[in-house]
């Protein structure tokens, strides 16, 4: 199979997955107790008012009509209007998506910047104090619930020492970029952005960091014990060349796979971190939508999350295939 056909096949599979997400999420509304009318109408609304609201929202239509209408509108890029907010879902979702992506990427950067050096150092200093320290750190990272870590980070670094903001997203990465082109001082804007993003990125990235550290350590140990490394040593290649050009490169292949999967998870799974830090991302919108049974907003959010997940995985597959051409033939 050619590389192009491989990429096309993965893309078609992705479309199928997204369609599945749309259908499953749509079906969920009919098996979930509760109704959006309860979030729209006051508790003492008459049955007539409830019926009128249901008709206005289109909830009085048969299921197949609602589904058909939804898919038809979706194909035209229209995700409908939020039952609760009365606003266009497309706008609501794409207002929130940048915040979630920004947080997910920042968390990944925090994780990778720490994890790969830690994993390498740990593997190359096996059973030494630095290895034990890195192992302890990664075990702590895996075991610590991120909501607890988030609250502790806020208490220590925002409330007690006033180094970072407690919550919110007052300055975003776009503001930092814009400050390069306008009168806003770049350094100040950068620091202001860091004041907001650092704590949630650490809280969200810690588990990921621990995971990648363990993966890198075990991968490096595995690679360093292989024959080609011994051959390279026998040829007299420098130790750093063997470690960082040969062993680390091969170690990074599974790390990239996990990175892709985790980035998708971070986009969809930052709900708790977003709540603790009042980070205005998709996770918060998903929770609000579930609580209020705001099906259009929930469906729109999950479709975007699902699509992001699929896209990231397709990208990882393609990169993986590029790094290891045998994957295409498999």
């Amino acid at each position: 199979m050619s590389f192009g056909r491989f990429a096309l096949k993965r893309s078609l599979q992705g479309i199928g997955v997204v369609w599945g997400v749309i259908t499953v999420v749509f079906a969920l509304r009919f098996v979930t107790p509760g109704s959006p009318i309860n979030a729209v109408a006051p508790l003492d609304a008459s049955q007539e008012t409830r019926a009128a609201i249901a008709a206005e929202l289109g909830l009085d239509q048969p299921l197949y009509v609602q589904y058909g209408q939804y898919v038809f509108n979706l194909l035209q890029g229209d995700m409908g209007r939020s039952y609760i907010k009365g606003q266009e879902v497309t706008t609501l979702v794409f207002e929130r998506l940048p915040a979630t992506v920004e947080l997910a990427v920042a968390a990944s950067v925090v994780a990778l910047v720490l994890a790969i050096p830690l994993g390498v150092v740990s593997a190359t200093n096996r059973n030494e104090s630095v290895d034990y320290g890195a192992t302890l750190l990664s075990l702590g990272g895996i075991s610590t619930p991120n909501f607890w870590l988030g609250i502790m980070l806020i208490l220590i670094f925002a409330v007690e020492f006033d180094v970072f903001n407690t919550s919110g997203r007052g300055v975003n990465v776009g503001d930092v970029a814009l400050s390069l082109t306008n009168a806003e001082p770049f350094v100040g804007t950068l620091f202001a952005w860091l004041a907001y993003i650092t704590l949630p990125a650490i809280a969200l990235g810690t588990y990921f960091m621990a995971l990648i550290t363990r993966l890198t350590r075990s991968g490096m140990l595995d690679e360093l014990s292989k024959g080609y490394v011994q051959a390279a040593r026998a040829k007299g290649l420098p130790r750093t060349l063997i470690r960082y050009k040969h062993a680390l490169r091969n170690t990074l292949i599974p790390v990239i796979t996990v990175l892709g999967l985790q980035l998708g998870t971070l986009i969809g799974g930052a709900v708790i971190t977003e709540a603790v830090f009042s980070w205005p991302g998709l996770g918060t919108l998903v929770i609000e939508s579930i609580n209020q049974r705001d099906w259009p907003a929930l469906q729109g959010s999950l479709i975007v999350i699902g699509t992001s997940f699929v896209l990231v995985n397709i990208l990882v597959d393609v990169v993986y295939a590029y790094l290891d051409p045998e994957v295409v033939n498999d």
Binding site: N38, V40, F277, E288
Partner: protein, 519 residues
């Protein structure tokens, strides 16, 4: 928030000297530095648990949205902090000889876009709320009574009802925000839900749906431009995050401080707790038509079995007051002669025996996280009932939307037998609790009693206010005796407030930053 007298160098100081005034402004540090304003103008931040559900003032039915849109929209009448009726856009009002109500508009009122407020705008606004064929199906359609028609005159508006409406002014003091007809008709729903054009003290300059709204004072406000130079309303669903924001001086007012965080706020040197009895009553509903709750003795027994004073003290840290009737003390129709059921497990056990339901097993259903410490309160009540020797009581926690689906079921037979519920009465009139919750045709009723129905019907038709109060008091006495609820408590609104400002909370749960002053 830091002042010029602070001698430590903190992050905001560093950022300021790094030249980030603009960036910090972007950051929405509404707590601000208390600097840079003109004269007495200052920045104020308010952080709630949740933001609005859209900015259309007539297309929502919940408190958070009312707080967000209520900074920009107003009604004909208003309320003071204690719930008393005061003038709003109407500076005079009267009941006409034929029982209608007439409102005289202030002179020179303008919307935020500079256009004059006309009686036609008022007529359109009221009709948009109550009639389904004027743009939207408003969830507030019952909030102004059964309106027949709205007519306009020179600077005045007259509202007629189907029958006599004894609480018309109470209803208009709480509901009925005024929008501009042409602005609404020219713009679609999405636009109206993302922008404001009211008459209120603030207008929105930045709006991030679900996250934050930034307001500036409306310079032509009829009651004078507010002292707050910039207002930021934002949301943090986590109560600990809201408290941390307050203690880190990033905001000035936070809502719903949980009892376990109260001492952390009070012990700080930057903020304090302000609380006020709210217009919300918490109770345990019991359905009249199913055993064992069909027995009046059994229902009274449960009232004796629950030690509400202990629950208020231990679960709510004192932020609540015991109730003995559906109507709260601040509301029209409250009966001051009714005492709460005393906590008396022996009497409870005796009444259970008398009811013939000894040995019965019951389950209390409670929403999760809807009311202040609702699950803990329900757990404590269920445990106390379960400790009776002749009743077993379990607890079922339910997600609110799911529980409401059952509570509002058209047929009473589909409703829960025994559940915790809270009811906010923003109209400050007892009938607005008794009718929906305890009349036979009430949307949430658990009771069918001819005497109660007769009293409530009389209250609806009585034109003499004093006589009406007597009727409502009698209805409250009847409700106490019939005990369709385990009468629990009046919920308090608990706010964390920065020491940099002076602000008193309101009974009706609305937040009025225009009354805050810097100190």
């Amino acid at each position: 928030m830091p002042t010029d007298n602070d001698d430590h160098v903190d992050r905001r100081t560093v950022l300021k000297y790094a030249g980030t005034a603009g960036a910090v402004g972007l950051a929405g540090c509404a707590g601000g530095d208390g600097e840079g304003g003109d004269g007495d103008a200052f920045e104020l931040g308010v952080t709630m648990g949740q933001m609005d559900s859209g900015l259309d003032p007539q297309d929502h039915a919940e408190t958070n949205t009312e707080i967000i849109v209520g900074q920009s929209y107003e009604g004909l009448l208003d309320r003071d902090k204690e719930g008393g009726i005061i003038a709003g856009l109407a500076d005079d009002w009267e009941r006409t000889d034929d029982g209608n109500v007439r409102f005289m508009l202030r002179d020179g009122l303008t919307f935020h876009n500079g256009d004059e407020v006309t009686p036609e705008d008022v007529r359109f606004s009221i009709r948009r709320i109550v009639f389904d064929d004027v743009g939207i199906v408003s969830p507030q359609s019952n909030d102004l009574g059964v309106v027949d028609e709205v007519t306009t005159g020179d600077g005045e508006v007259t509202v007629s009802f189907e029958g006599y409406n004894p609480i018309a002014f109470q209803l208009f003091a709480t509901n009925g925000e005024i929008v501009q007809q042409s602005w609404v008709e020219e713009n679609g729903g999405d636009y109206i839900n993302r922008n404001v054009n009211g008459t209120g003290p603030f207008r929105i300059t930045e709006y991030d749906s679900g996250n934050e709204g930034v307001y500036e004072p409306f310079e032509d406000y009829w009651d004078g431009e507010p002292a707050v130079g910039e207002l930021t309303m934002s949301a943090s669903s986590e109560s600990s995050t809201r408290v941390n924001q307050l203690l880190a001086e990033e905001t000035d007012i936070v809502t719903n401080v949980p009892p376990n965080e109260v001492s952390r706020v009070n012990d700080s040197d930057v903020a304090r707790i302000n609380s006020v009895p709210s217009a919300r009553v918490i109770f345990l509903q019991m359905r009249y038509d199913v055993e064992p709750f069909s027995s009046q003795q059994f229902r009274q027994a449960l009232n004796h079995a629950v030690d509400i004073e202990s629950i208020i003290e231990n679960v709510l840290n004192g932020f609540g007051s015991v109730t003995a009737q559906p109507t709260l003390e601040e509301h029209v129709g409250y009966n001051p002669d009714i005492d709460p059921y005393p906590y008396d497990p022996d009497e409870a056990e005796r009444l259970v025996e008398e009811s013939g339901h000894a040995g019965v097993e019951i389950t209390l259903e409670t929403p999760i996280g809807r009311y202040l410490r609702d699950v803990d309160i329900a757990q404590a009540a269920a445990d106390q009932i379960d400790s009776l020797s002749n009743v077993s009581c379990g607890l079922e926690q339910r997600e609110f939307s799911s529980l409401v689906q059952d509570i509002t079921a058209p047929d009473i037979e589909d409703r829960p037998h025994f559940n915790l519920l809270g009811w906010g009465n923003g109209e400050f009139d007892g009938s607005q609790t008794l009718t929906p919750l305890l009349s036979s045709n009430g949307a949430l009723t658990v009771l069918k009693n001819d005497e109660m129905d007769g009293l409530l019907t009389d209250a609806e038709a009585t034109e003499d206010p004093d006589e009406r109060v007597d009727i409502l008091r009698e209805a409250n006495q009847l409700a106490h005796d019939l005990a369709p609820w385990v009468f629990m408590h009046q919920q308090f609104s608990v706010y964390g407030v920065s020491d940099d400002i002076s602000w008193d909370p309101r009974t009706d749960e609305f937040i009025d930053p225009d009354t805050a002053t810097q100190q």
